[in-house]
Symmetry: C2
Subunit: 140 residues, 2 copies
DNA sequence: TTAATTGCAAACTCTTTGCAGATAA
DNA sequence: TTATCTGCAAAGAGTTTGCAATTAA
């Protein structure tokens, strides 16, 4: 059994088709999605699935540390499977969101714990700017 | 005239009492606030000020680059005067949000532009964890 | 004088909740 | 069998918008 399902079960929750479908959707699309996007994809597997269940399930998953929700400045939440050590690059030109794994992220954590006594559990990092394609095209 | 008002005027916008009040509120409280918090403080200076105006003004300011809005995982936006080079440390124990100016932030920008050809304009960085006080108290 | 701005209220969007029926264990 | 979970619909919270009146320039 894949690790997320295992965690769910171990925490005493039922493995319903809806929960399996939501996990599959999150897995199949590596990148973050809005609740609506997730729900649309879930309905292809579970046509009767309700939006409220998607909200409830994502919140349950977040509580278990299976997913994180991120903010892209829009008016709604985005969720993705939790993976450590990735930053988002949001292009102000084309709107694309890509990922970035900086080689120095460990140094930041070290600096944090040293200077501030702050123990890092998780982080959300979003850089806004222009991707190489948009830089080539335009005059940014 | 302070620089934010100057920018507003230069961009062709009127300097209304409401806009001045919102700027003053943002300046007086260094840290981020929710729209509601901002509006409550604005009403002390402009009792008749409407909430919609606060929303419109903050969005106008954001468009001009005067403020940035950040996300703390709650269901509403937070705004603050735009200042470069600061990261948020969100304590999962006491909920306090403090700031952090990492000495290596320039290196990240350099790595970004080198490896990815991505030109950084702005960023939001939030680290979640436990502050020194909570670490002393608890067993985290 | 006049185009920009405002307050109000209504509309809209996203999210949460209550509840009766359905279902995994 | 039974406590958990679901779908539905209604409620709630935050945000945006239309419009007539007001106001900065």
């Amino acid at each position: 059994m894949k690790s997320e399902l295992k965690k769910l079960k171990e925490a005493g929750f039922k493995l319903t088709p809806q929960r399996r479908a939501i996990l599959e959707v999150l897995r199949s699309s590596g990148i973050h999605m809005s609740v609506d996007e997730i729900h649309e994809k879930v309905k292809k597997k579970c046509p009767q699935a309700g939006l409220a269940t998607t909200y409830r399930t994502l919140d349950l998953f977040r509580g278990l540390g299976l997913v994180t929700n991120i903010n892209l400045g829009e008016g709604h939440k985005h969720y993705e499977l939790r993976r450590k050590n990735h930053y988002h690059l949001v292009c102000l030109g084309c709107g694309n969101v890509t990922e970035f794994r900086p080689s120095i992220s460990n140094e930041i954590e070290r600096e944090l714990s040293g200077d501030c006594g702050f123990k890092v559990i998780d982080y959300h990092v979003e850089f806004y700017g222009y991707c190489s394609k948009c830089l080539e095209k335009g005059e940014n």
